[in-house]
Symmetry: C2
Subunit: 160 residues, 2 copies
DNA sequence: CGAGATGTGTTATATTATAACATATGGCCT
DNA sequence: AGGCCATATGTTATAATATAACACATCTCG
């Protein structure tokens, strides 16, 4: 229930823990966490912030891990399809998942000043919309829930 | 609470009613519903379906109302900023608002087979996420709630 | 070895969106 | 009337996001 991202925390541990968790998950599930895929995941884990595919590609290029768009998009496809990374539709950008492996409908709080993204655990999407959907027989397969606003850090010291 | 879009209804009346409502709103608020803007609105009202900016531009072009992207995007900006049209972030496309003028957090049910979009009235976005947001002091300004799945029509006769 | 599956490298192109500047139109002030 | 401002449109060019298509490498399995 507590959204990670805007609060202070042991970020190095946060990165390492999630990475280990995903590595284990991949080993057990027979998924190939190749160097490019792993590096894209690391880049995203490093920030609690959404990065565009081309931002990521720039970093890969600097590191000699790939220079063309498909390299980044393919890695992102892999990470998203296995739930390690989420796409923020509102921003056309990507953010590491805070609860990888678990099945959940993620909800995001997006700060429009610092671009920070926090992932909140919530049952709202399927639950609330679900009841409305059932009335008409609509079958929900995926829910996008993104709230935009001002994060606590940016609210205190008004930047803009 | 009842989502319009997947249910049978008097669509001609639905279009005309909404258009009249918006015309009135514009007159009272001193907004200029110019020919291009009005036509874009009509095009969107005609379908309970999201159309891409370039789909709309194609129609405008056929009708000699404009041929370059900014024409469509500017009309859409106007319509979106005044709440007459909503953008479906998941699809990078636009749909006429079912409750123009009213302040509401719209939620959408998007059919991945027929591309139909229904707008549901719900308090969930701000309400559910709101409580989580308050815990960390996040101030929600705008909420995107989009559910993807199969609409009742497509569920009955599996098209794909 | 040969066939199939998976991942990467690369070129080219599609799709979505905006910047920037020119032109037109109408209201409004002097 | 003339000048001025705000708003809207026309047009060119380009930015930003995303995918198609094909070549090649590697690995596994029979
Ligand atoms: Zn962290
Ligand atoms: Zn912030
Ligand atoms: Zn209708
Ligand atoms: Zn459908």
């Amino acid at each position: 229930m507590d959204p990670i991202g805007f609060t202070n925390h042991d970020h190095a541990g946060c990165i390492k823990g999630t990475l280990t968790q995903i590595e284990t998950h991949c080993r057990e599930a027979g998924l190939q966490l190749t160097p490019v895929r792993r590096r894209v995941l690391e880049i995203l884990l490093h920030e609690h912030r959404a990065l565009g595919a081309y931002d990521i590609l720039d970093k890969l290029r600097e590191e000699g891990l790939g220079s063309q768009p498909p390299v980044a998009y393919r890695a992102l496809d892999f990470l998203v399809s296995h739930g390690f990374v989420n796409k923020i539709e509102r921003l056309n950008a990507f953010v590491a998942c805070a609860h990888p492996g678990e099945v959940h409908d993620p909800a995001f709080l997006i700060c429009r000043k610092c671009d920070g993204v926090a992932e909140a655990q919530t049952k709202s999407a399927r639950g609330q919309l679900g009841s409305t959907a059932k009335l008409t027989g609509f079958q929900i397969e995926r829910a996008v829930l993104e709230a935009e606003g001002i994060c606590p850090n940016c609210a205190e010291g008004p930047v803009v």
